[in-house]
Amino acid sequence: MDALDRYLPAPDLPAVPLVRALRDGVPGLLREPVPDAALRAGLGVDALLESDATIPLSPLVALLLNAEALRVDPRTVAGPFLAPFSRLAFGRKADVFELLEGADPDLVELLDARLPEPLKRTASGLLRFLGGALLELAALGGYSEWAVFDPASRRLRDRPVGWRISGYTPAAEGRPEFRGYYQGRTEVTG
């Protein structure tokens, strides 16, 4: 997460207008009205804008997911768990990604209107990229050793859950896997 947050070199330029656009524009995109105070709390935008620090990438991504979660189901503005996206079941979460990858034309219009030049017309690309990357990188991280890796010793504290699920056996230096050469041929020429 830390690496992600320091990834964009100067995040204020795209981030602040995006956050303001979502704060001001999302209520108009919902199927049912949601009280303004509840919506701002649900999205957590005020805390982001009140801070003097630059807005990191990870809360910006969370904000987009939560805005789309409210588009999918306005009732997720409150409830158990911490944020609207986390209050959706798997199928409805998939609906959020359908909107992102679409890319959601209403949200694109909203964001592009608020982005300054030369970033106007970049919102649809951003949403499409995020729609793919969030799922791919979540899969990569989730099935890797990340959660049980000790950076100090560069060793694993436990067997990664992705290895357990997939029945994976790591190799130390190699494996007794050699099965010869196809048709006994060890070289070709010409």
């Binding site: 798997f90 990229f129 799922l135 190799a171 190699g174 494996r175 896997e177 196809y182």
Partner: protein
């Protein structure tokens, strides 16, 4: 300071030029933006997140200091740009697959399937012209016929039942299947015959140990000198040769290699009425200091995305607008079969068998550890299977519609067993199209200038490209079923940009190419390109590194003859293999 030659980038192509010219006695400076990777046994692990995390992994694209952020590249679409910085570049994570290109993508091809190739963007010389350079590189790396593991026996059993002939030559002239020709040393001694690490130390074990970690950088067998490591990524082959040139070449002069040194500007001057390259400025990643050196010749080899960026950030001319354009990517796709028996998918060198379909592209098996397996099944332009289709969701002989596996389905498929599945990678012979390109991003610049932006209009490719990919997806599915797969998934990958080419292409016409037939810039004298971006097209589908290395050898020879008064050597001399004991001793 003035050098004979400055080479920008120590990936698949740059070290080839550096080594060849160092062998001729030229003073060569080789700049690499990323890490030196001088001691893999201390710096690397076999762990996937530690290696391949795009933000923090040791094979990410970023500065040598892993605590510093990775470099941002903008992709305004669902795509995944899989770059790697550091000495070795993307050969650090490549699979060593070293097929030659198809004849049909070269000038003068008159075969009956001529219309099946992107002949409008053919190479500006014949295939036969390149063959001596292929031979030179194949002997240098060296390239060898791949040994089989269990997954190859499964793949090849399916290929046999497609009714294709087996190919027993380096040249590909017809539809066929075969074990790969890989830049991987064949197993010797205990390698491939035991999993006991105590028995797998060099020289008791030589060559490939079948560890299954090609994607995490090769440092096997343990205890091997750097130039004896199994996979012949350039950090294990051409770079050791470049650094030890006096030991194995009678006139050799050791290359100066500077890692963590990001080239930010190519300098030019007007001479005799024309513009010529005169030198390079780079930025040291640790200190932030900028340095400049001049040279008689500058060679760009930062990669298909980075070379256009450096060109444009340097303000170099682009009169026909083709700098960065014509970016090709093999429009890769993944097809995976589930089996009821062991397939050994996660074991052994990552890809050691293939099928070639000249006129369409190629198929090859790819074995993956679990995280990259999960990644490969999550990459799609067809939405989440069973949930949404994103306007696609293709149907065919595979089971269900195309799409990524999400959440519960991904878990169910992986729980079937990482070694009870088999992946087939689809390598499409995709056409050069001007709207697919690398350009500069409007996002804030970094310390190296405006950042690159890679634009792909993937759904608007040519009819031929789209048809070739569908043809190959059907052949891949058929191969898997004939090998015994009980279920077959096709993912319809979003562009996975790892076989990338032709963004600074050489070409027959000055209207749609940046380089002439010698890989020299059409508009700036003494400036050459020697990475995948110099390729005229996507080769018709075969993996690009060998062809880039053959072309880089030819380019080095052209530079030596044209600018340093030397004679050509390829065809007249015998190449020294990178495993030569003189290289080992000098390291």
């Amino acid at each position: 300071m003035s050098r004979d030659v400055i080479v920008v980038g120590a990936g698949g192509g740059g070290p080839v030029v550096a080594k060849e010219l160092a062998a001729r006695g030229l003073d060569v400076l080789l700049l690499e933006a990323g890490a030196r990777h001088a001691d893999p046994r201390r710096e690397w692990t076999h762990l996937e997140n530690d290696a391949n995390n795009p933000l923090t992994g040791f094979l990410r694209v970023g500065p040598a200091d892993r605590s510093k952020p990775a470099w941002l590249r903008e992709e305004p679409q669902n795509s995944y740009l899989l770059q790697a910085s550091g000495v070795g570049g993307t050969t650090l994570h490549y699979y060593g697959n070293s097929p030659r290109a198809y004849r049909g993508v070269f000038q003068g091809y008159e075969g009956p399937d001529k219309g099946a190739y992107d002949s409008a963007h053919a190479f500006p010389f014949t295939y036969d012209e390149l063959v001596p350079y292929y031979r030179w590189v194949e002997a240098t790396l060296p390239v060898q016929t791949a040994a089989m593991g269990v997954k190859e026996t499964v793949f090849l059993s399916g290929a046999e039942r497609l009714g294709l002939p087996v190919q027993t030559t380096k040249d590909t002239t017809r539809w066929s299947y075969r074990p790969q020709e890989n830049a991987i040393l064949q197993p010797g001694g205990t390698a491939g015959r035991t999993g006991d690490p105590e028995r797998l130390r060099y020289p008791r074990a030589t060559g490939c140990t079948f560890c299954g970690y090609c994607l995490q950088g090769c440092m096997e067998p343990a205890g091997a000198p750097r130039n004896q490591a199994a996979k012949r990524s350039t950090d294990n082959s051409y770079v050791p040769m470049a650094l030890t040139a006096p030991a194995w070449s009678p006139h050799g002069k050791a290359v100066t290699l500077l890692a963590d040194s990001y080239a930010v500007k190519v300098h030019t001057a007007r001479r005799d009425g024309g513009l010529v390259a005169t030198g390079v400025t780079w930025r040291n990643g640790a200190s932030g200091d900028r340095h400049r050196e001049d040279a008689e010749v500058v060679v760009l080899a930062g990669g298909t995305t980075e070379t256009p960026r450096l060109w444009l950030n340097s303000g170099l001319p682009d009169p026909n607008g083709w700098v960065g354009r014509g970016y090709t990517d093999h429009f890769l796709d993944g097809v995976t079969g589930l089996f009821d028996h062991d397939t050994g998918s996660s074991r052994g060198p990552s890809s050691a068998a293939r099928c070639d379909f000249p006129g369409y592209g190629a198929l090859e098996n790819i074995g993956l550890p679990p995280a990259m397996q999960a990644f490969s099944m999550s990459l799609s332009d067809s939405g989440i299977r069973g949930r949404y289709r994103n306007g696609r969701g293709l149907t065919g002989p595979w089971d269900g519609r195309t799409g990524r596996l999400g959440g519960p389905e991904l878990k169910e498929v992986l729980a079937h067993g990482i070694d009870r599945l088999l992946n087939v990678l689809i390598l499409t012979g995709d056409d050069v199209e001007p709207h697919n390109r690398a350009t500069l991003s409007a996002l804030p610049p970094d310390e190296h200038g405006a950042v690159p932006k890679v634009v792909f209009r993937s759904r608007r490719r040519t009819r031929r490209t789209l048809a070739a990919r569908e043809f190959l997806a059907r052949r891949a599915t058929e191969l898997l079923r004939r090998a015994g797969a009980t279920r077959v998934y096709r993912f319809d990958w979003a562009p996975l940009l790892l076989h990338v080419h032709s963004s600074m292409r050489m070409g027959l016409s000055a209207d749609d190419s940046v380089l002439d037939a010698d890989a020299a810039s059409r508009w700036v004298g003494r400036l050459y390109v020697a990475d995948n971006s110099a390729l005229a097209n996507s080769l018709g589908g075969p993996n690009p590194t060998l062809t880039t290395q053959a072309l880089a050898t030819r380019t080095a020879e052209r530079i030596f003859v044209r600018h340093f008064g030397g004679d050509p050597w390829v065809g007249d001399e015998t190449p020294v293999p990178s495993t030569d004991h003189r290289v080992t001793d000098a390291l």
